[in-house]
Amino acid sequence: MKDTVPKGFERWLRSVTLKPSPPDLRHKVLKAAAEYRERKAWTTPLLRRCFTACAVVLMAVFIADGLVSRAQRMQLIALAGGPRPTPIQPDDEGALLAEVLGGAVNPRMMAQETAESRRRTIRKTASDDLLQIERLTEDAHESPEDLH
């Protein structure tokens, strides 16, 4: 391919020089680029410094808060005479039982069963009371002389 390019002409063309760019072009171009960069930047140097300072202050506040609350907790525990065992909540009873039974009964079923048993107890108590009232009433009717 190189053979087909006329070497003499290519050499002549290479000897052609171009005039230098206008002297003020560098300043104009760089000024435009700097202005553009400033315009497009979403933060200014001052704002960036503010962001950094805010981040440092926030971090310091978080760390100080953690340290203070930990110290307070330790103080409260010391005042209460050491850590207390937490009592088992009634709701936890079912879960505990289910755990003991090895997953055969799940906590929800246990809770349902407990509620049903409570209802049965209440119903039974109420019906016993009613029966007793009826019996007493009947006794009163059957022996009116006792009233005299």
Binding site: M1, T4, V5, P6, F9, E10, W12, L13, R14, S15, V16, T17, L18, K19, P20, S21, P22, L25, R26, K28, V29, L30, A32, A33, A34, Y36, R37, K40
Partner: protein
């Protein structure tokens, strides 16, 4: 790389490329300004650039293409102005055998893609590999565009050199 450093390294060559590509020193100045604005936006990418010259000329080429596309859109009749390449003569130092205006006109008559390859090869000393990388071509295509361009240019200046 800072814009000052880019300008000091490539600014002059970028201006010449644009003048040859666009045919107007004024347009070359405007597009050079836009290119530097774009390069300022790409400042974060510099760490990844392996060949700064190819990268700078790639960005420059895209800006030149944008400007040319705008120019074509502006033309209402769709025909280029025959005298529009005369302004290029003001960028060319008067050659010994041919008037600068004639050379400018001959360059203007070339198809844009051939003129571009000649501008990069002759006036910027790019290798065909670099031209191919900047223009997104194969090396063979870059070389053949150059060859056809030189032939056409020689034919239009025949008997004058």
């Amino acid at each position: 790389m800072q814009p000052e450093e880019i300008y000091d390294r490539y600014g002059e060559k970028m201006y010449h490329y644009l003048a040859l590509r666009l045919g107007s020193p004024q347009d070359a100045e405007d597009v050079l300004q836009e290119t530097f604005c774009r390069l300022a936006r790409y400042s974060a990418r510099w760490a990844l650039v392996r060949n700064p010259r190819a990268f700078v000329f790639g960005v420059l080429r895209n800006e030149a293409n944008r400007s040319l596309a705008k120019r074509i859109k502006r033309r209402t009749d769709g025909v280029s102005n025959p005298g529009e390449w005369d302004r290029l003569a003001s960028v060319i130092e008067e050659p010994p055998d041919v008037p600068a205006s004639q050379l400018a006109r001959a360059l203007g008559e070339l198809p844009d893609e051939q003129r571009e390859v000649i501008a990069l090869k002759i006036f910027q000393d790019f290798s065909f590999r670099e031209i191919a990388s900047v223009c997104g071509l194969s090396i063979n295509t870059a070389a053949s565009r150059y060859r056809y361009g030189i032939e056409k240019l020689r034919a239009s200046l025949e008997g004058k050199i």
